[in-house]
Symmetry: C2
Subunit: 397 residues, 2 copies
């Protein structure tokens, strides 16, 4: 009889995916997904781009491209990142098939079975699954409203970890943004080591206030050891996930290894969508588009916060997001989040339970609600369902 | 100091890629690549498809899709394969980011470090690299003009291999097609085992004669143990590689594991290009397009064969391809293929040396020339360069 590999035998279907299947029921109000709103996509701009492509571009768009990416897109993205302060002269870009692929490649570059790696707790489920496929020993570090707890970081650094994975800005699922003080402390602690950092910044462009954004400086931009930092970004939230494009920014040595990994995975990212993305970025349309959706996501976030304040028991607490897609709500003590979910689904709404984002899958008394893909009317209606259900459960406790 | 994982440390940049960089010089006649001809892509058809897409399709095209693929594409591809005799009721499709990703996923599903796997020798370099990233012990089985040598297969089956990887139709690089007799023998030998087969059929649609094609039956179609066969195909040669789309056809158990692997790698294949590919396939345009390019590739193949007969020493031998992109030429004894390559490049043409496709990278006295991406005038000119250089080297030997 055939035998599967150990790594694939260890993979388990995640709870979030089962939830997602519920969330696609037409009448369900979903706060579960992390996908942008279909109605906000720049479909007309894409249409115009396709019609304006030259014959040469049309042909190139259908051909294999370099493993590291379509050169005009790399060039435009390099300049875009340079303006944001990234060290583009000492680093190179690889265009990846979504930023999840960049995260997967980074996992493959470092993890041998049994190796210790560090993540936040909670952490992005996609990254946990990608890392998990290489069979590491994942240690999650708790977070407060300012970022990971530095004392815990110091302790787990003694375990000789292969790398630290963090999402310092508009965290998924925790909704928080690392304070500048916490970023500084983190970099100080890490500077005593040679441990690489994977900085995931899939949501960084989706800030709500210009002022707040200026105070948020990526680790890659401010670290004195930036060569140890792999910075990843995504076009999924600022253009469209269907393009399947993200990127990683790394120094020479990481670049060479990552390119070899990418070569084995899918040879190159889709050229067709890279050509579209190049034009969208280089023309300035991306910046205009993101400015527009920032306002909409901000309004939805404020609407959701108002609904929480109106309908939730005051024992439910959360940190107000400065950007991104998510609010991470700590439930009143004694509420079982799986029980809550079942009752809420019966009433017509859905969210994701906190245990989904725990590296060990442990229950933690939190739920994640996203406001990205739901209009304000539904946000109010759906949050009322969750709040009412919560209050009713508290009465019966 | 940071330490890379063992698997990534073992990856080496392949000779073929260094060659490819030479092959992009504007004045070079390249027989090195496996990419279709830019000028043959159906760019007008794609343009029309984009303009005819509904608003809903435009939005869906920019969104995440199911991990296993865009449902309308899966449906159309299911019916297309059913007509070709594939067992679609007992199997499921996963749309992958190129068929290389399907091959990589299959490698991940089965290979633990040190496991024996079986391939042909020579074999597709992309598959060798993908498998290599999981650190197997690769045993290559020699081929003659009818397929792998059955006696050798029997011997290596004693090594308890995890799987057998083969490309029975229009082989890359060997240009051969397994005879029906050899397919039968292979399936008989394998039926005594429970060893899975990965059947790579990236070129199957590119046959030169309708009659010959009817005699070519995929193993997945004719095996009594088809549940042990993972069949992979690609849209790269019949639509465009820039779409980055391929597929795997597998039974339930392989499907579940493959879906989990795919989920960790890039969550889903690019939706935008899946929407285009769905319309291209479902409308019948794909079949019309492939009928057209078949004729062109056949003419180029015949032109190349004529040029070999005209310009090469008669000691150089090859099996005439029935389809696909490649001719695999056995050089006259005593000719060093790397030396030949250097001299040919100096004269303005390029091919790939045979050792590139040997699982252990050993020299084998062969070269691969592809006729897919070069017009007839250049084929004649370039093959004359190789032939003249060969003859000159033989004189000096």
């Amino acid at each position: 009889m055939y035998r599967f590999s150990q790594s694939v035998s260890s993979l388990r279907s995640s709870a979030i995916r089962d939830l997602m299947s519920l969330a696609t029921r037409a009448d369900m109000i979903s706060f579960a997904g992390g996908m942008p709103d279909n109605e906000l996509f720049p479909v007309n701009e894409v249409q115009t781009i396709v019609n304006e492509m030259s014959v040469t571009e049309r042909r190139v768009a259908m051909q294999y491209g370099p493993t590291t990416g379509y050169p005009p897109l790399i060039e435009a993205l390099t300049e875009w990142l340079r303006k944001k302060g990234f060290p583009m002269d000492s680093n190179k870009l690889i265009i990846t098939t979504g930023s999840l692929q960049a995260i997967n490649i980074f996992g493959k570059m470092f993890i041998d079975p049994g190796d210790v790696i560090l993540t936040e707790n909670p952490a992005f489920i996609g990254a946990l699954s990608a890392f998990g496929s290489y069979m590491p020993d994942i240690h999650g570090i708790d977070m407060d409203g300012d970022g990971i707890v530095i004392q815990q970081l110091k302790e787990v650094l003694l375990l000789n970890p292969k790398f630290l994975y963090i999402t310092p800005t508009f965290h998924n699922p925790a909704g928080i943004t690392y304070s500048q003080q916490r970023r500084k402390e983190l970099l100080e602690v890490m500077s005593g080591t040679e441990i690489p950092i994977l900085e995931d910044d899939a949501y960084g462009e989706l800030y709500f206030e210009e002022d707040a954004n200026e105070a948020i400086v990526p680790l890659k931009v401010q670290s004195e050891n930036e060569n140890l930092i792999c910075y990843t970004g995504s076009f999924s939230k600022i253009f469209g996930p269907g393009m399947r494009l993200g990127f990683m920014l790394v120094g020479d040595e990481f670049y060479r290894k990552a390119e070899l990994c990418k070569q084995c995975l899918d040879a190159c990212s889709p050229t067709f969508t890279q050509v579209l993305t190049h034009r969208f970025l280089a023309s300035g349309q991306l910046d205009n588009y993101v400015a527009r959706i920032r306002t909409i996501y901000k309004q939805r976030c404020e609407c959701m916060i108002d609904a929480i304040k109106t309908y939730f028991p005051e024992e439910a607490t959360f940190v107000k997001p400065k950007g991104g897609f998510y609010i991470w709500i700590k439930l009143p003590q004694g509420i079982d989040e799986m029980e809550l979910l079942k009752e809420v689904i019966a009433e017509g709404a859905v969210f994701v339970v906190g245990s989904t984002f725990d590296p060990q899958g442990k229950s933690n008394g939190y739920i994640r609600v996203s406001y990205c893909n739901t209009d304000e009317e539904k946000i109010v209606k759906g949050m009322k369902i969750i709040g009412d259900t919560l209050k009713s459960k508290m009465k019966h406790n």
